[in-house]
Symmetry: C2
Subunit: 201 residues, 2 copies
């Protein structure tokens, strides 16, 4: 899909792709920028340990960028599944029971995907902190943009988790997911603030 | 350019595309999401004035999405121009003077482009406030993601304005640009906060 097609698809009144997909792509862009900065020739006198940490962050960020790119597609698929479940027949009691089960299953999928997006963004921000601390200073503004986009993507993903969680009935799953969501959101915000401080000009 | 190619290009060690382009595309995604929400069948009992305000916002947002998409390309071109100017010969005094002039001109271009991106994001957020207040409530999470991405894009654009401004010598231009940047950043933040309150579930 071209960038122009993506923008048209987001602007169209069709419900997918929506905010979850946009958040995942923004996260993938932020992660890719961090990969770029981690690969620049160093202008800093990093110690061997710092060089190793930067290489390690780079390898992790490359995987996360690919993950977020897949999650952008998965988000659309999971939301399409929710809408398909709502369209199932509800003529008989059997229909209704099957439909309810299908809706619950689809909503669970549509909760897990943005939670994965949030997890990936939080991990990218944590590695981004290393890039902000030890990466080439001349690309500090790229690091700032990257962390800002990842932070917005993490918040957007968390909002999508919360909305789909609202329709679920499995209380154990809801509690566990809400707890994980809070933990990841807080970790992402803390690492983002630290990275932003290091990236200041 | 496909989304996959964009992500690869951002991740490559080449300096362009960089944070300015990523910010403009994130802004275009946020604006496109607002266009989507403004086009949904209304589930609200909007007054005629509110319906007109929403239609007006939609028309403006469609233009802004196209503008931000162009600015993504313009950002890459303006940064390439800066690097080309730095590569000009500096053997003679004449060379040096021509090179200095070229660098100043290119840096000015690389300041104006992210300032335009910031201006477009601020305008999208202001129109997004109307969408958050009068758009379909079922898409509130899309509005939240959109405003979050636009806010991050505005901050990223402002950071790029500031960095390129640092290399400029024309004090009158620097002062005027810094003033305009502050005004736009503050307006964007204020409208974003109001829109986020309206988009809360």
């Amino acid at each position: 899909m071209t960038v122009a097609q993506l923008l048209s698809a987001l602007a169209s009144p069709d419900p997918t792709p929506g905010g979850g997909t946009a958040a995942a792509i923004a996260g993938a862009m932020g992660t890719s920028l961090l990969v770029m900065v981690s690969g620049l020739a160093k202008s800093r006198n990093n110690t061997d340990d710092e060089k190793a940490a930067l290489l390690n962050a780079r390898a992790a960020l490359e995987l996360i960028a690919a993950t977020l790119s897949s999650l952008a597609d998965a988000d659309t698929a999971s939301f399409d599944a929710v809408m398909a479940a709502y369209r199932l027949p509800k003529a008989t009691d059997e229909d209704k029971a099957a439909r309810t089960t299908a809706i619950q299953q689809a909503l669970r999928g549509a909760t897990v995907v943005p939670l994965d997006t949030l997890r990936a963004c939080a991990a990218a921000i944590e590695h981004g902190r290393i890039v902000a601390e030890h990466g080439n200073r001349s690309a500090a503004s790229d690091v700032g943009v990257a962390i800002g986009l990842l932070n917005a993507a993490a918040d957007g993903a968390a909002a999508n988790v919360q909305i789909n969680l609202g329709g679920l009935k499995d209380e154990a799953f809801k509690t566990a997911t809400a707890t994980e969501m809070s933990r990841l959101t807080e970790a992402a915000a803390a690492h983002a603030a630290a990275a932003m401080r290091s990236a200041e000009p």
